[in-house]
């Protein structure tokens, strides 16, 4: 015999699969929505199977119990939430997949809560026991999910606000929010005679303020500076000129963390360029780097002026027009007694478009040959 409870579950499962089918045909067969609806269908059929199997919803005994039950079913907000979820689902289908997903989450949560609550309410005639059963079944899911949801909402809303305002104001807002939380906490702790309603009011107010400003900030988008940074890709290209560039050389490195596996060290001292190879004591005029091989070159500046090391790696043709472009790589501007590393991996031999050289802009006429056999 199919019990009432499992009928309910199987019904939802059927609706879910129908929804999935419609969704698949109308919108997009590979969308995540289909997966979600099918997931609901499968989950509900499993729940239905379990209830059928355990007979917890057995209508015969339960209906008797209800008639003699002293406590009427408690007020429930789950139907309301279920409806809300349905609305979100419909709205989301036409507008935004995130709203759609939210709808699914709300429906699943409300459905499970409702189902288990109604089951628990019929579990016995003792309402305290019923509440206990419900809590036993659900708190372990409710607690972490609610807490996780709260963290997510706060973190996302807060970060949207911070992204929208300037960094200075952001820091101030951060301080203000934190202080407000602390202050309210201390206030409540000290003033023991505060009314519960006023506390609740403050909390609700805070929550609403956070959500609303977060929503507005999210709509208005990121602050100008971040938008331009994303669009212009400030740090993605290296400027190998003689003078310092705005972004690439901003706060340039002073030391390197690589100490091992240095192929060669190139120094500038008294305006003179010199190179030394690992394993050899005498300075060399040519640095040989094996083809396609990762090589680390250290650049050490011992002069007062800032310098950078540039590796000139021949030319390449760009596009079909045959415009020739130089291939260069370089370190940042390096101050006095500072060191920077240049990581090179050269795939083409110097015979192909060479010669390759190391130069330091500003020290004209000096170079160190770079041979890639």
């Amino acid at each position: 015999m199919i019990t009432t409870g499992s009928k309910y579950c199987f019904g939802i499962a059927g609706l879910g699969s129908l929804g999935a089918l419609i969704y698949m045909i109308l919108i997009n067969p590979s969308d995540v929505g289909v997966l979600a609806l099918l997931g609901i269908a499968i989950a509900m059929s499993i729940v239905g199977g379990v209830t059928q199997f355990t007979g917890d919803f057995d209508a015969d005994t339960v209906s008797d119990a209800i008639t003699v039950s002293a406590s009427a079913p408690a007020n429930s907000m789950w139907p309301l939430l279920l409806a809300l979820g349905g609305v979100l689902l419909l709205v989301g289908m036409t507008t935004n997949p995130i709203i759609f997903l939210l709808g699914i989450v709300v429906i699943v949560a409300a459905g499970i809560e409702w189902a288990l609550q109604s089951w628990a309410e019929r579990a016995s005639e003792d309402s305290a026991f019923n509440r206990f059963v419900r809590e036993r079944a659900l708190t372990s899911l409710e607690l972490p999910l609610l807490a996780g949801g709260a963290v997510a909402v706060i973190a996302i809303a807060f970060s949207r606000i911070m992204l929208a305002v300037s960094p200075e104001n952001g820091a101030i807002i951060f301080i203000v929010v934190a202080t407000a939380v602390l202050a309210v906490g201390f206030l409540i702790a000290v003033k023991t005679n505060l009314k519960k309603t006023s506390i609740t009011a403050v909390c609700v107010l805070g929550a609403v303020a956070l959500l609303v400003s977060g929503g507005i900030a999210g709509q208005s988008g990121n602050r100008e500076q971040l938008v331009s940074a994303a669009a212009e890709e400030h740090y993605s290209h290296k400027d190998c000129e003689e003078t310092a560039s705005k972004y690439f050389d901003k706060n340039s490195e002073k030391t390197v963390s690589m100490k091992s596996g240095i192929l060669a060290t190139i120094r500038v001292k008294d305006g003179k360029l010199s190179a030394q190879l690992i394993g050899l004591d005498a300075p060399v005029a040519t640095v040989t780097v094996a083809r396609s091989n990762q090589a680390t070159i250290l650049f050490r500046n011992l002069d007062d002026e800032e310098h950078r090391l540039v590796a000139n790696l021949g030319v390449k043709k760009v596009g079909e027009t045959g415009v020739v472009e130089k291939i260069v790589d370089c370190t940042q501007m390096t101050g006095k007694n500072q060191t920077q590393a240049l990581l090179l991996k050269i795939n083409k031999p110097s015979a192909s478009s060479g010669p390759y050289t190391f130069t330091v802009p500003g020290l004209e006429g000096q170079e160190i040959a770079l041979v890639v056999p």
């Binding site: 091992s260 596996g261 240095i262 192929l263 190879l277 690992i278 394993g279 050899l280 004591d281 040519t286 040989t288 094996a290 083809r291 396609s292 091989n293 990762q294 680390t296 795939n347 083409k348 031999p349 015979a351 192909s352 041979v371 056999p373």
Partner: protein, 421 residues
């Protein structure tokens, strides 16, 4: 049969470790038989090319000295401990004696037995300390060679330098066989293009890993001319077992000859010969990865290989002087027939140089191996060369794929390759 005076004893020592000690306790009565067996083995065992107890150069000799301290010491300690255990097991077996006195130990004995091994080890420690710094010395280097490992072969590049008065004016690139002059302190600068490999010529020195992004130094020196076998010893993927190398030591004069030859470009094959057709095949296929110095395209420009576009490591062996080496494909296969190989490997130090510099003569060429390789390389040496499975490595091969050459193309190629002296 070994001619090294120290060898029989070292073998005996090794066998003590493998055989007698482990089973000595099990069957005391057979110990004598086993000891006899050890002597017998010591007489019979022939040298394996990668034996770690037959140093042929200064660094390996230093290591060997240390081995000769620690192995016998360990052997003596082992025998003493086993004698003690054997005695206890025999003496205190259950003969129906009363339950013994419940003694809980004797601190004086305990402390003595802690101090004795500590003393022995500190002696070993002093020698170890000296050995480590001896081997790490690089400041009297006479020659530098860059060694680069990749799946699954070694590339050697000799930067421009003057060695024992012989000038290497432009870099030499070769693969598979490392050629060094005798009695010269050679510094290898090891690195790798893909995964970690390890360079090991047991007769010349211990091993040192070739780590990508790092440069590790390893010093080699060979007393006498000869060919010394080695093998990659850091697991490096599919064909790790097939990644071998050989170090060839030549008298300085012979080395000069070798350098002069290596610096020459490849010769154009004779007009209208099979080899010239082979050159065409090479330009069509092989040049994608393999460089031959001096090879020109039909329009007269230099042909430059682009392994970086086809192979993940971005390198393939330079074949300009293929026939000057007697192995190929990461020293895994012989380029010479087994008879010719034997002649080179067993040549006396005086004759070795001439035998090696002769290269692969037409009668010595191992056609079977070379043709099999050209027909289907990954079948001979496992490599990641399936064109359908290259998604993870940017569509590039790791190793040489099957080129599906026709038999006539293979004939032509073999003719061409054998001109690359």
């Amino acid at each position: 049969m070994s001619h090294e005076g120290t060898l029989p004893v070292s073998k005996q020592n090794m066998t003590i470790f493998g055989g007698v000690k482990s089973q000595g306790r099990l069957n005391r009565k057979k110990t004598a038989v086993m000891a006899f067996g050890v002597l017998f083995m010591a007489g019979c065992a022939r040298d394996a090319p990668q034996d770690t107890w037959q140093p042929k150069g200064e660094n390996a000799s230093n290591i060997n000295t240390l081995q000769w301290i620690v192995f016998p010491l360990a052997g003596v300690v082992g025998v003493a401990v086993f004698a003690l255990i054997g005695f206890v097991l025999w003496r205190y077996r259950d003969k129906g004696q009363a339950i013994p006195h419940q003694s809980h130990g004797n601190p004086a004995v305990e402390i003595t037995l802690t101090i004795i091994p500590a003393l022995i080890l500190s002696v070993v420690g002093v020698f170890t300390f000296r050995g480590i710094f001896q081997l790490a010395q690089t400041n009297d280097t006479q020659m530098v060679i860059n060694v680069t490992g990749q799946q699954w072969w070694w590339e050697y590049d000799y930067p421009a330098q003057v060695v024992n008065g012989v000038e290497i004016s432009q870099p030499i690139i070769t693969a598979g066989q490392l050629v060094i002059p005798t009695d010269t302190k050679v510094l290898l600068r090891e690195t790798s293009r893909d995964v970690i490999h390890s360079y090991w010529i047991p007769a010349l020195n211990g091993k040192k890993d070739a780590v990508p992004g790092r440069i590790n130094l390893l010093r080699l020196q060979a007393y006498k001319p000869g060919i010394y076998a080695g093998q990659c010893t850091e697991f490096c993927g599919l064909s790790h077992a097939n990644m071998r190398m050989e170090a060839v030591a030549l008298e300085p004069a012979d080395f000069a000859t070798w350098v002069a030859n290596q610096q020459r470009n490849a010769q154009q094959p004779a007009q209208a010969s099979l080899a010239q057709e082979g050159e065409g095949v090479f330009l069509n296929q092989c040049i994608r990865c393999h460089q031959v110095n001096g090879l020109k395209k039909a329009d007269g420009t230099a042909a430059i290989a682009a392994p970086d576009e086809n192979v993940y490591s971005g390198a393939a062996p330079n074949l300009t002087h293929l026939m000057s080496r007697n192995t190929f494909a990461g020293a895994a296969f012989d380029l010479v027939t087994s008879d010719c190989r034997k002649n080179i490997w067993t040549a006396s130090p005086e004759q070795f140089g001439a035998a090696y510099l002769e290269g692969v003569s037409p009668k010595c060429l191992n056609q079977t191996n070379l043709r099999r390789w050209l027909r289907n390389a990954p079948e001979m040496k496992p490599m990641y060369a399936d064109p359908t499975k290259l998604a993870s490595s940017d569509g590039k091969y790791r190793g040489m794929p099957n080129l599906n050459l026709s038999e006539s193309d293979i004939d032509k190629l073999v003719a061409y390759l054998s001109t690359l002296k």
